[in-house]
């Protein structure tokens, strides 16, 4: 286990920021930590990186207790904090060399060069960090987190505030790195998790409300099957009433309806078909709606609110 968290609790002034959460992360996994603002993502990460001590419970990184072996844990973790704080008056190269010397890495100069080319900072390496655009700063942040070749990477909202191109680049970078490292990243963008992560944990109000493989989770938190059907004309009156017997009906556009039901996919399809035949309607289009993680996220975080 790369990361193991047992009954972790953090209390700020009598309020539980995280409340007895437990999870394991195997090495080599890219795990997305999802949750609305203030759910406890950052707090959990701060405990794992030894910035804050837990109020109760245990957290281990590569089998080392974050409280007892703090220095050793910090050596094995690469951390990109929220908002990516950097020394804006330092130069990119100078900063990476400083971080390298803090980690006491041996081949500092070659390692800095390697990180610069890995993160695509060649053209910016002699600039002051304060002059860089946000996307490039994020790369500097990632470079400093990986310079000592840590086995575990903890990234707190690595793509927040970037434009779509930069987001794509940073994601690509993280996925590349993630092939041989354990990555725990937090975000509140669903597509990000679907695109990058092998596993998702959804946290809400300090509790883990969902934890599973990205694909699995859709089934696990199934919100029923939704069928999108387009008819040749608008349905009204008693027709609509009999359609509503099949499930929850929502009118999407003039002639398109979504029917949500807990029934099996095939059954729902044939029932809607029979309904159309019975009332002499023509179905021009019929398809199942894909439940995105976004909906699952909305569901699990709302029901607890």
């Amino acid at each position: 286990m790369s990361i193991r968290v047992e009954n972790l609790t953090k209390t700020y002034k009598k309020q539980n920021a995280i409340d007895h959460i437990s999870f394991d992360i195997k090495s080599g996994e890219i795990v997305g930590f999802l949750g609305p603002n203030g759910a406890g993502k950052t707090t959990t990460m701060k405990i794992l990186t030894c910035y804050l001590p837990p109020s109760a419970g245990k957290a281990y990184v590569n089998g080392l207790d974050v409280e007892e072996n703090s220095i050793e844990v910090r050596r094995q973790i690469g951390y990109l904090p929220e908002h990516n704080p950097l020394y804006t008056d330092m130069y990119v190269k100078e900063y990476l060399q400083f971080v390298g010397s803090v980690y006491k890495i041996k081949n500092k100069h070659s390692r800095v060069k390697e990180m610069i080319s890995l993160t695509g900072l060649e053209r910016e390496q002699n600039k002051q960090i304060g002059q860089l655009s946000k996307g490039y700063r994020q790369r500097v942040g990632l470079a400093q987190a990986m310079i000592h070749d840590p086995s575990v990477l903890i990234l707190d909202e690595p793509t927040s505030g970037l434009d779509p191109n930069q987001i794509a680049e940073i994601r690509h970078l993280i996925m590349n790195i993630g092939r041989e490292k354990t990555v725990l990243l937090s975000t509140h963008i669903m597509q990000e998790v679907e695109a990058m992560c092998s596993r998702v944990m959804i946290i809400n109000r300090g509790e883990i409300v969902a934890n599973g493989q990205t694909g699995e989770l859709k089934h696990l938190f199934s919100v029923g099957n939704t069928l999108l059907a387009t008819f040749n004309k608008t349905i009204s009156g008693e027709f609509l009433a009999s359609l509503e017997e099949l499930g929850e009906v929502k009118s999407i556009t003039g002639t398109t309806y979504s029917i949500n039901s807990s029934k099996e996919e095939d059954q729902l399809k044939s029932e809607v078909f029979n309904f159309a035949v019975k009332h002499q309607l023509i179905i021009t289009e019929m398809k199942m709606a894909e439940h995105s993680l976004e909906e699952i996220f909305k569901n699990v975080t709302k029901s607890n609110a």
Binding site: R74, P85, M90, V102
Partner: protein, 242 residues
């Protein structure tokens, strides 16, 4: 610790703080010692540089506060405090790295004044007739006093993320330790404990050492002062964990 010390000194130099402090210190002292009528050495006729040692503690109250005010305040404000404290370094090595970086800058500002010593040494009649013992004592005293100020400044910096607040608190504390105890001791109602109150202040010990008498008690006082403030700094440093 060394990597942090190095980084701090680089940032002092690149932000010009170090240069400004050294220049201001030397210009101010230069004016008082060689130019201004009331205090200049040439008219005074004694072969010593006492005005320097009278003046430096006052100037340093401002300058050292200016050097140390950003040490932790800036890191806290920018959030780099979090990046730094999640690196595999102990809290103490961060604090000491910053402490010695500040102290080194201060010592560099004192060094050029050795030229004053050389001047006085040459001008003295007969040549070289200078109370060298008292002079080295004074330098030692000044370094000890600066070391104390830097620890006070560091503490003032760790308590806030606002550099101005840190600057003002640091000036106040330096001034307080430098001379307030001495003023207090002259109050009538404190007559009985006069000596002990004066003993708490920096000036009492600074003057002792300046005379060229290096008493271990004075050295111990300065070391205790430094250790005390670094210890307080360490406690506040960890306040996020409370």
């Amino acid at each position: 610790m060394l990597s942090i010390l190095q980084k701090e000194i680089r940032s002092f130099l690149s932000s010009l703080i170090a240069i400004i402090v050294i220049v201001v210190f030397l210009v101010a002292n230069g004016l008082f010692i060689w130019v201004f009528k009331e205090t200049n050495l040439l008219d005074q006729g004694y072969a010593n540089i006492d005005p320097l040692f009278e003046l430096a503690p006052i100037i340093f109250i401002f300058l050292i506060s200016a050097i140390t005010m950003r040490s932790f305040s800036e890191e806290k404000r920018n959030g780099t405090f979090e990046t730094l404290t999640t690196k595999p370094v102990t809290d103490m090595s961060i604090i000491l790295g910053k402490y010695f970086a500040g102290l080194i800058i201060v010592i560099f500002s004192i060094l050029p004044t050795l030229l004053y010593y050389y001047t006085v040494h040459t001008l003295a009649f007969p040549k070289g007739n200078v109370d060298t013992g008292a002079l080295w004592g004074s330098y030692l005293g000044l370094v000890m006093l600066s070391a104390g100020y830097v620890s006070i400044g560091l503490f003032a910096s760790v308590i806030t993320d606002n550099q101005i607040v840190s600057f003002i608190v640091s000036m106040f504390l330096c001034f307080f330790f430098y001379s307030v105890f001495e003023y207090l001791s002259s109050f009538d109602f404190l007559k009985n404990s006069e000596f002990y109150i004066e003993w708490l202040g920096i000036n009492h010990h600074y003057r002792n050492i300046s005379r060229g008498i290096v008493d271990t008690r004075d050295i111990v006082y300065f070391i205790s002062l430094i250790v005390f403030f670094i210890w307080l700094t360490k406690i506040i440093f960890n306040s996020r964990k409370w």
